[in-house]
Symmetry: C2
Subunit: 217 residues, 2 copies
């Protein structure tokens, strides 16, 4: 019973996601669905990326949050279109909520649409938003066992950012275990070992994300 | 439509949770539903608590995980009953899954039943398991904005453990902001500022949890 209901919900989500994806392709917009645990660094990643690439690319942002506008407030200093979706307790964004707000962007004038999903390693990876690709962000302070314990996201991600590499010396994080588990789940996936606060790994990230602009896919 | 279905699911969950709660009361078992983001320290909290209190109290553990038995393996060194529930992708435990495994414990011979929920700040707080109370674990490396951004859990928790206090100097975590936000959501809730690896705050935690044993409630 519940399985059938879940299938219906997912089917309807998939249909709308397919429409969103077609629209993004038509408009040459690269839509990036950013997924992580709470506090892994999604908003800080957007801040660093907008500081570095905001002049080179036309970037829009959708901020998914359960209840506050705190993340959107942090991005207000950038002169870009930002739309906030409050899920009112919901644990993930879905393609319907995305579809409804796309009218608020001038898609003909965008290269990238970054979607910061709700902080949650599980549910967001089960709902296709129509994104061009998913991006996984995980931090060393969460432990090296996260790819093995939450494989759905890591299996589907087009790239993985391992953040808070500056805090690794203070934890028992074993980077060989992390790389090995990730390799079993998604062999060859680009892995960026970063500190969004100290700057490690960001040059490689900026280079990689720049190459994902729609014309060059 | 989906709201009605969700209400049915939650109603059915609540009915079963009420049955579980009655059974725990009858058996004098304190059931603690431990909720946090991935990697905040739930399993390490159980390790420290079993090391300190394993001789004084009769403790059982239910380990909720999406796919692996890694957390349960970490607790195998203790001579206690442990039952693992794999949610097969599900983002939270529910009262039905708890109810089904209770037969595997000798409830007459337990003081505490600790339930380590799936690593997720959102969905687990929406499903009553029949627990005596919820416990929130959050770590400094997740940022000081977590109570404001994920209020459901922090509103319901009977106590909050702020872990990884040893890593605070390396982050921009503002403990005054954290305490202030938490106070607005759940005034007077006991807050333990801990490092499960270095030992900070554990003495207070052991004292508090010991007083939650059913006879002394």
């Amino acid at each position: 019973m519940e399985i059938k209901i879940m299938k219906n919900i997912l089917d309807r989500n998939q249909n709308r996601a397919n429409e969103v994806r077609s629209l993004m392709t038509e408009k040459n917009v690269t839509m990036v669905n950013i997924i992580s645990s709470p506090g892994a660094g999604k908003t800080t990643l957007l801040e660093r990326t907008l500081e570095e690439l905001g002049d080179r690319f036309r970037i829009g942002v959708i901020e998914g949050d359960i209840t506050t506008d705190r993340d959107a407030q942090r991005l207000k200093r950038f002169d870009i279109p930002i739309v906030m979706i409050n899920t009112e307790g919901g644990c993930h964004l879905d393609s319907h909520s995305i579809s409804k707000v796309l009218d608020l962007f001038e898609l003909d004038n965008l290269d990238f649409l970054f979607v910061e999903n709700v902080g949650n390693l599980i549910c967001p990876s089960q709902f296709d938003l129509g994104e061009t690709f998913k991006l996984a962000v995980v931090s060393t302070t969460e432990g090296d066992d996260k790819p093995a314990k939450y494989p759905m996201l890591f299996r589907e991600a087009k790239a993985v950012l391992l953040n808070k590499i500056d805090l690794m010396p203070y934890t028992n994080f074993n980077i060989e275990n992390f790389r090995s588990d990730l390799g079993k789940i998604n062999a060859g996936v680009p892995l960026f070992e970063t500190s969004f606060t100290r700057g490690d790994g960001l040059k490689d990230w900026f280079g990689w994300i720049s190459r994902q602009v729609s014309g060059s896919l």
